[in-house]
C-alpha cells in the first residue's frame, strides 16, 4: 500500500518542530532580538509561493488577479528578506567581547 505524501510532509513538519525546540532553547538570551529578526527573514521564504503565483500568468497577460496578488506578495516578502537579514547583520555586528586587558 502506498503512503500518502502528506504523511511525509507531516513527518518533516513534526520533526522540524522538535529541531526548532532544541535549537531555540540553546540560543543565548542576549541574542533573542536578533533571533526574532532572523526568524522573520527566514519565514519570508514564503516568497517561493509568491514567485510561483506571480509567474502564473501567460505570455499574453502577465497580470491577472491571481498573479497580481503574487507580485504584491513578492514585494512584501522581499522587504522582509532584505530588511530582516540586514538588520540582523547590523545588530550582530554590534555584539563585541571585552577587549583583553593588557
Amino acid at each position: 500500500m502506498e503512503i500518502d505524501p502528506l504523511i511525509f510532509r507531516l513527518s518533516i513538519f513534526i520533526l522540524s518542530i522538535f529541531i526548532g525546540y532544541y535549537v531555540v532553547w540553546s540560543v543565548t538570551p542576549s541574542l533573542h532580538t536578533p533571533l526574532m529578526s532572523v526568524t522573520n527573514a527566514i519565514s519570508s521564504v514564503i516568497i517561493v509561493g509568491a514567485i510561483i503565483a506571480g509567474l502564473s500568468g501567460n505570455a499574453d497577460s502577465i497580470f491577472n488577479v491571481s498573479s497580481i496578488f503574487g507580485f504584491l506578495a513578492i514585494a512584501l516578502a522581499a522587504i522582509n528578506i532584505f530588511g530582516g537579514f540586514l538588520v540582523t547583520q547590523r545588530m550582530l555586528a554590534m555584539y563585541k567581547k571585552k577587549k583583553k586587558d593588557k
Partner: protein, 466 residues
C-alpha cells in the same frame, strides 16, 4: 533551463537545513554572524531553485525581479535607517508583512489553483484547501494583530489595554466561527466563504491584541512571531514545499518558546496575558490606601560620591532607558567608573524592555561588551556582594514585594535582588507606580537613594561629577 521536481525538492531541503544552521549560530555571539550568512545562502538557494523549477523566464520573470528589487530596496533602506530603540516596532511591522504575504499567496492559489497543481477553481483538492485556508486565516490574524502591536509600540495607539464588556465571549464566538467557516469552505468550495473567512480572521487578530497592555508586548511580539511561522507552514503544506514547512515549524516553535520564556519572566500564564486587561485596574486602587512613606532623594553629586567609593556596581536597565535613549550616556558613565578601578556589570531581567533581548541589543549598540551583561539567574546572587545597584528605567522587575507579599499581583514573579546591595540608586522621573500599578517597596528602603530626573540627563550629570 528547467530542473526536475525531485531535484528542486532536494534543494529546498538544503535551504531548510541552512535555516536550521542560521538559528543554531545564535547560540553564541561569535557564531551568530556566520549563522546569518547561512540563512542568506538558504534564501538565495530557495529563490533560485524556484525560478529554475518553473522554467519561466519570459516577461513575467522580469516583473518578478522588479518586485523583488523594489521590496528589497525598501527593506534594505529600513534596515539601515532604523534606530535600535525602535526594534520592537520594526519586528512587529515585519511580522505583519509575513502574515499579509501568506494571505496573498493563499488568495492567489485559491483563484488560480492550476498554477500550483492543486486542481481547478471550484474543485481544489480537499487537503490543499484545508491547508490553504488554515494558512490564510493564521496569516490574516498575524497581519492585523501585528499592525495593532506596531501601532501600540509606535505610540500611535495608546499602550493601555482596551477592554469592553462581552469581549471574551465575542472573541470565542469569532474563533469558533473561523473553524466552522473553514469546514463550510472545504465542503462547498465557495469563494464567498473564502473572503468571509479572511475578513473574520483579520477582525479577530485585531480584537485579540487590543486588550493587551504595553508592557505585555514582549509576549505579544513573540506570539505573533510564532503565528507567522505557523502561517508559513500552512502555505508550505499547500505548495508541498519542504523549505517552507521546515522554516514554518522552526519559526513557530521559536516564537512559542520565546512567549513561554516571557510569561515565565512575569510569573503569569500565557492565557492570563492573552486574555489581557492587566494593569487596566490601576486607577481603582485609590491612592488614599497608600500611607505617605518617607523617601530619600538625592542629586547627581550624591550618586557620584556613592559610586566613587564603591568597588563594584551593578547596573539594572529597563524600558525607561530605551525611552530616554540613555544607553550611550550610561556606557560613558561606566567607562569613567572603570577608569577608577570599579567593577561594573549589567543585570538584565527577561522581560526588561518591549521585546525579548531588547536591553541586550541597546547595550551592544552602546558598545558594551556582551560578557559584562548577565541574565537574572547568572547575577542575582552577586547583588548581596555589590556596593551599589544603579537602577535605570526599570521598576517592577526590582520590586521586593514579588517575594514577600502573596497579595501582590506580581507575587512570585522572579525579580532582581537589588535591595540586597549596600546601596541602591534608583533613577526615575517620579514616584509613580510602574506598569503593574503597584508601589515599589524599594523606593522606601533605608539604603535606597532616589534620583528624580530624566535617565539620560541624570547619567550625564553623574559622569560630570565623578
Amino acid at each position: 533551463m528547467m530542473i526536475s521536481a525531485d531535484l528542486s525538492a532536494i534543494f529546498y531541503l538544503v535551504s531548510g537545513v541552512l535555516f536550521i544552521l542560521a538559528l543554531r549560530g545564535l547560540s553564541s555571539p561569535e557564531t551568530s554572524r556566520q549563522g546569518n550568512l547561512f540563512g542568506i545562502l538558504g534564501m538565495i538557494i530557495a529563490i533560485t531553485v524556484t525560478f529554475l523549477s518553473t522554467g519561466n523566464f519570459s516577461t513575467g520573470f522580469i516583473f518578478v525581479l522588479l518586485f523583488i528589487l523594489v521590496g528589497g530596496s525598501i527593506g534594505a533602506f529600513i534596515a539601515y535607517k532604523i534606530p535600535m530603540t525602535a526594534m520592537p516596532e520594526l519586528v512587529a511591522g515585519f511580522h505583519s508583512l509575513v502574515g499579509l504575504a501568506a494571505v496573498f499567496v493563499a488568495i492567489s492559489a485559491f483563484l488560480n489553483p492550476e498554477a500550483f497543481n492543486l486542481g481547478t477553481q471550484g474543485n481544489i483538492k480537499l487537503g490543499s484547501l484545508i491547508e490553504m485556508s488554515i494558512g490564510a486565516a493564521v496569516g490574516a490574524i498575524t497581519f492585523s494583530g501585528s499592525v495593532i502591536a506596531f501601532l501600540k509600540l509606535q505610540g500611535v495607539m495608546s499602550g493601555s489595554p482596551i477592554t469592553f464588556k462581552g469581549q471574551h465571549p465575542l472573541n470565542a464566538i469569532i474563533l469558533v466561527s473561523i473553524v466552522v467557516l473553514i469546514y463550510l469552505l472545504c465542503s462547498t468550495q465557495s469563494s464567498n466563504l473564502f473572503w468571509l473567512l479572511l475578513g473574520v480572521s483579520f477582525l479577530i487578530g485585531f480584537l485579540l491584541i487590543i486588550p493587551i497592555g504595553g508592557a505585555d508586548m514582549p509576549v505579544v511580539i513573540s506570539m505573533l512571531n510564532s503565528y507567522s511561522g505557523w502561517a508559513a507552514a500552512g502555505i508550505g503544506f499547500t505548495l508541498e514545499n519542504t523549505a517552507l514547512i521546515i522554516t514554518g515549524a522552526l519559526v513557530g516553535s521559536s516564537g512559542a518558546i520565546l512567549s513561554y520564556i516571557m510569561c515565565k519572566g512575569m510569573n503569569r500564564s500565557f492565557f492570563n496575558v492573552i486574555l489581557g486587561g492587566f494593569g487596566a485596574t490601576e486607577d481603582t486602587s485609590s491612592p488614599s490606601i497608600k500611607e505617605q512613606r518617607p523617601v530619600k532623594s538625592g542629586n547627581a553629586d550624591d550618586a557620584a560620591f556613592l559610586m566613587k567609593n564603591a568597588s563594584s556596581v551593578i547596573i539594572v536597565p529597563g524600558y525607561g532607558m530605551a525611552v530616554a535613549q540613555a544607553q550611550h550616556a550610561l556606557r560613558e558613565m561606566v567607562d569613567t567608573l572603570k577608569k577608577n578601578d570599579i567593577k561594573v556589570s549589567y543585570a538584565i531581567h527577561p522581560v526588561a524592555g518591549r521585546m525579548p533581548g531588547h536591553m541586550n541589543v541597546l547595550l551592544a549598540e552602546a558598545n558594551v561588551p556582551y560578557d559584562e551583561v548577565f541574565e537574572l539567574e547568572e547575577i542575582n546572587n552577586d547583588f548581596a556582594n555589590a556596593d551599589v545597584a544603579f537602577v535605570i528605567g526599570a521598576n517592577d522587575v526590582t520590586n521586593p514585594v514579588a517575594k514577600t507579599d502573596p497579595q501582590s499581583p506580581i507575587y512570585g514573579m522572579p525579580v532582581l535582588d537589588v535591595e540586597k546591595c549596600k546601596s541602591v540608586l534608583f533613577v526615575k522621573r517620579s514616584l509613580s507606580p510602574g506598569y503593574a500599578g503597584i508601589d515599589n517597596d524599594l523606593f522606601y528602603k533605608e539604603n535606597t537613594l532616589m534620583l528624580f530626573a530624566d535617565a539620560k540627563k541624570m547619567t550625564e550629570d553623574i559622569t560630570k561629577n565623578l
